[in-house]
């Protein structure tokens, strides 16, 4: 793999939550790679650790959670703060996992180099501050602009995300906007400092289908304009097919399969990925009334009490005898196609 277009590399990341009830291994040895100007889709059921992995990159893991192992190498490049365009010259390679989560270094990266869009546009914006206040804050913080310039910048960003009447919307409060508008405002806020990586944590889950399509189109368009990478977290495989270049499938804190989007949909290897793909309803399948939609049997195990060996083995249709004894290694099957399963050893 060419190192020059690598943007972020997560190696054997472990983020655990130490709670009264026990330890939750939310991320338990995850490996990810994000290349410059590309989109990595991360899929998995709820509770598989995808959101915690994203928050580990930002170092905003909730109380009680800690990175206990692994590294997150972030390849920082020289860039023009005005246009946000980057040269290919590497400035620095930073291990985000080693930074002090309250320190100045990580704060200079948050919101500027890496930013994030959240699932609930309703509650992710402060209800008592105007849109302009919340966007302008990021700009003036990272680009040292005065309030007037920050306001102009905010209006410009609102315009770019397709917000109607940005001069007026900027003084609105979130509750005065629709869900789609709020998510556009969130995106404008996240992109206002032209980050090199945008982490989108289920950004369209709370939206209706037409709005979802608009937001997805907007994100792709902005990605081209600004030349950034996107880490797109979702449980919706349809959205992945539309957005991602590469896909990582996560199960119980581990990446079980990592492939290009074509490989994943046409040549899924891991039994979990295969099961996931089978559980998507297909057009026309209804004609055959006797065929039921496939579902993965069982449910995600108790997070305090993970199964030994391969975490998926209790639910796996192709289980072997060693599956409950040995933890499968990550096997490289093809160029750019890795899977964590003993079947391919």
């Amino acid at each position: 793999m060419n190192n020059s277009d690598l943007l972020l590399q997560m190696k054997d990341l472990k983020t655990y939550f130490f709670l009264d009830e026990g330890t939750v291994k939310a991320v338990d040895g995850a490996d990810l790679e994000i290349k410059a100007c590309s989109t990595l889709g991360v899929v998995g059921e709820s509770g598989c650790g995808k959101s915690v992995a994203a928050r580990s990159i930002m170092r905003i893991v909730a109380k009680g959670g800690r990175i206990v192992n692994g590294e997150i190498m972030f390849h920082q490049r020289l860039r023009d703060p005005e246009t946000g365009s980057r040269s290919s010259n590497l400035v620095d390679v930073l291990d985000l996992a080693a930074l002090n989560p309250h320190g100045e270094k990580i704060r200079s990266i948050r919101g500027a180099e890496i930013s994030m869009v959240f699932q609930e546009p309703m509650t992710s914006l402060s209800p008592v501050h105007t849109i302009g206040n919340q966007i302008g804050e990021v700009v003036s913080l990272h680009q040292k602009l005065d309030s007037k310039q920050a306001r102009e910048k905010a209006i410009d960003m609102l315009d770019r995300v397709g917000m109607p009447l940005p001069q007026r919307t900027i003084d609105r409060y979130p509750h005065e906007l629709s869900g789609g508008m709020r998510q556009r405002a969130m995106i404008a806020m996240a992109l206002s400092c032209h980050p090199s990586l945008l982490i989108a944590d289920e950004p369209t889950t709370a939206l209706d289908v037409t709005t979802e399509a608009q937001i997805l189109t907007l994100m792709r368009q902005l990605q081209e304009e600004l030349g950034m990478s996107i880490m797109f977290i979702t449980h919706n495989l349809g959205v992945i097919a539309q957005m991602a270049d590469r896909v990582a499938v996560m199960y119980l804190g581990k990446v079980v399969e990592d492939a290009s989007v074509e490989d994943l949909f046409y040549k899924p290897l891991h039994p979990y990925t295969q099961a996931l793909l089978q559980s998507i309803p297909r057009l026309g399948a209804k004609k055959d009334r006797n065929q039921r939609l496939a579902s993965i049997r069982g449910s995600v195990p108790d997070p305090y009490n993970l199964p030994r060996g391969c975490p998926f083995h209790p639910r796996c249709a192709r289980r072997l005898d060693i599956c409950d004894k040995e933890e499968p290694p990550l096997v490289k099957v093809d160029t750019g196609h890795q899977v964590r399963c003993v079947l391919y050893k």
Binding site: R110, A112, V138, M186
Partner: protein, 328 residues
């Protein structure tokens, strides 16, 4: 916003009318009137009372008229002439008696409220952001003490400590030479010298409640997604907390100014009786026991007005700080 304020004020007027009626009825509840209890106390001292004289006096004060006529006269006097009636026990117009005491009461309550907040907010924020830390436990325990100890008992304790260990008599709001003196700079300084004791007692109670509210609200707010958004922006922890969740968590503060004030007035009334302050408390108590109805009624009515105005102010404040309210 202006429309909202005007609408609120419009609602307030009928409220005040009803309250004035209620207070007047309450004041009339005791059997007999001022003159009968006055006569009884004179008789107890062995004096001979002329029934005819009592009748004449009763006529003069209008006590033999039906209650609604008395009420009408009272309200008419207040609205047209600022005349709150005659205090029968002190033989002076009520308006000469109440204003200084009501002003001092208001100063005492408002200063205590502000001091209480000034302490409660930072402590509450610390307590919530450092949940289950040793200081959080200490702060929580002290705040429970504050809730559990009524102001008049605390007043007794303070008097006890001041008496036994400092040789001070902490009662009153003024030194003797200033009680009857006209207002002057020296009198204000003297007032401040005495005011801190009741203020700290009342503020202790207010702080305790405010602290619980701040802590509970902030703990709720800290888990809201917008806090995460703020962290993701790269703001410092202090900035995130004070600009976002604290700001939202403080809204209930503004919405409770009204009844917080009512609580403080209640506490201040008792405390001023214990510490013998020159506020409304002791005089209200005397007026009530002597059935001096215009004096007691005026106090009761004005105290209610203070609460109603406080509630109005708190609603306006809340609409001002919380854009979500303004909409409706």
């Amino acid at each position: 916003m202006l429309g909202y304020v005007l609408r609120r004020i419009a609602i307030m007027i009928p409220t005040l009318i009803v309250i004035s009626i209620i207070t007047f009825i309450i004041i009339q509840l005791p059997p007999g009137d001022f003159l009968s209890s006055y006569a009884a106390s004179l008789r107890a001292q062995g004096e001979v009372i002329d029934e005819a004289e009592i009748r004449v006096m009763r006529e003069r004060y209008g006590l033999n008229q039906p209650i609604y006529v008395q009420y009408g006269k009272w309200i008419k006097g207040i609205v047209t002439r600022g005349d709150w009636g005659q205090s029968m026990s002190l033989q002076r117009p009520v308006k000469d008696l109440i204003w200084q005491r009501m002003t001092l009461s208001m100063v005492l309550s408002v200063v205590s409220l502000l001091v209480g907040w000034f302490i409660a907010i930072p402590l509450g924020v610390y307590s919530a952001t450092h949940q289950y830390s040793p200081l959080d436990y200490i702060v929580t325990f002290i705040s429970f003490m504050g809730i559990g100890t009524p102001s008049f008992l605390l007043g007794l304790v303070v008097m006890f400590v001041a008496m036994n260990y400092m040789g001070l008599n902490v009662g009153g709001l003024f030194s003797d030479q200033f009680i009857l003196a006209p207002w002057s700079w020296a009198k204000v300084v003297d007032l401040l010298k005495h005011l801190w004791i009741p203020v700290s007692i009342l503020a202790f109670n207010g702080t305790a409640g405010g602290l619980r509210t701040t802590r509970a609200n902030l703990l709720d707010e800290l888990n809201k997604p917008y806090v995460e958004t703020a962290y993701a922006k790269g703001l410092t922890e202090r900035r995130v907390i004070w600009k976002y969740p604290v700001r939202v968590a403080l809204n209930p503060f503004f919405s409770t100014v009204g009844w917080e004030l009512a609580n403080l007035i209640s506490g201040a009334t008792l405390l001023s009786i214990v510490l013998n302050l020159q506020t409304e408390g002791p005089m209200l108590l005397n007026a009530l026991t002597a059935q001096d109805m215009y004096l007691a009624g005026s106090f009761l009515f004005l105290l209610s007005v203070m609460t109603v105005v406080g509630t109005l102010l708190s609603d306006i404040l809340l609409a001002w700080v919380d854009p979500r309210i303004r909409m409706t």
